[in-house]
């Protein structure tokens, strides 16, 4: 095969990988979609309880976490720009910043959950079944949704860490950056979901 042919083939391969990532994102969206469906059914059934429940959450922490994720989403998008411009150093810094922000997010989350746990409020606790039905469902949803989201944060962090090493070793470079692009896409998905989780869980009027 000529060099040109190899190049075209590799490029087609990148297109395939990107399409593959998008398809995977579709499944993730629908995975959370199932939860949002459950959420909307119960919210329609117990509006007052959901409102009360949301008052128990700290909007400040939620807002901070929203900002953190938004910024991290931008930094990872920028790191892609950086690698496209062949600025490896900057790209690596930006990925690290993203990872740092992800850690901040998780730290906040642990803090938030920890406070609830201390009040005996967690799935399977003695207190939960004694709550009013709407409150119980609200908190179950809260833990299930944010828990699943946190799991995705962790997966995203693993992916980005791999990308970091690939940039470092030169496996990801200004000609071939599909791995970073896909890692970034995944990270944006995590952000996208949080954009909806935040108002739905924290800001119920």
């Amino acid at each position: 095969m000529t060099e040109k042919a190899t190049h075209i083939e590799a490029h087609a391969d990148d297109e395939a990988k990107k399409l593959g990532m998008w398809l995977f994102i579709f499944t993730e969206l629908l995975l959370f979609g199932g939860l949002f469906l459950v959420y909307s059914v119960f919210r329609a059934k117990y509006p007052a309880n959901f409102h009360e429940g949301s008052l128990e959450l700290s909007v400040t922490i939620g807002a901070i976490n929203t900002i953190v994720l938004l910024v991290s989403s931008m930094t990872i998008a920028m790191s892609l720009t950086a690698i496209q411009k062949n600025n490896r150093k900057l790209a690596m810094t930006l990925i690290s910043v993203t990872l740092f922000l992800a850690t901040v997010f998780l730290f906040n989350k642990v803090f938030e959950w920890g406070a609830k746990f201390e009040h005996g409020l967690y799935p399977g606790s003695k207190l939960m079944p004694m709550l009013e039905r709407g409150d119980l469902l609200y908190f179950s949803l809260y833990f299930f949704m944010t828990g699943l989201h946190a799991l995705h944060i962790i997966v995203g962090m693993v992916l980005l860490t791999i990308c970091l090493f690939k940039v470092k070793s030169g496996n990801v470079n200004s000609k071939k950056y599909i791995h970073l692009e896909n890692g970034a896409l995944y990270w944006h998905l995590v952000d996208l979901i949080w954009i909806f989780l935040f108002p739905l869980l924290y800001l119920i009027t």
């Binding site: 490029h11 087609a12 297109e15 399409l19 998008w22 579709f26 969206l29 629908l30 979609g33 949002f36 469906l37 909307s40 059914v41 329609a44 059934k45 909007v59 807002a63 929203t66 900002i67 938004l70 910024v71 989403s73 931008m74 998008a77 920028m78 892609l80 720009t81 496209q84 411009k85 970034a184 896409l185 944006h188 952000d191 996208l192 954009i195 909806f196 935040f198 108002p199 739905l200 800001l203 119920i204 009027t205």
Partner: protein
């Protein structure tokens, strides 16, 4: 799909998008602190939808992707909306 042009999004575009996103976040928090009751959900969802749209278009580069991919993405959202709607044909009338 032989769309070989890859687009590089400039830093300043990304930064501007972030600013808008932050502003929208601030907006939804302040709007929901007025008790708009019925409109609360609609407004919150509208704002979240706008934010999601921005993330998809700029951060996820959809603006520069092939038409096919853009259609597929919108199709998924439409499908999901339809599923929710249909489920509520049951719940809304029970």
């Amino acid at each position: 799909m032989a769309n070989n042009t890859t687009h590089t999004t400039e830093y300043r575009v990304l930064a501007r998008v972030l600013l808008v996103l932050m502003f929208l976040t601030f907006l939804t928090i302040s709007v929901t602190s007025y008790h708009l009751a019925a409109f609360g959900v609609t407004v919150a969802l509208l704002i979240a939808g706008t934010k999601g749209f921005l993330v998809l278009t700029y951060f996820m580069h959809l603006k520069y992707e092939s038409l096919l991919l853009r259609i597929l993405v919108s199709m998924v959202f439409v499908l999901y909306a339809v599923i929710i709607l249909i489920t509520f044909i049951d719940y809304a009338y029970r």
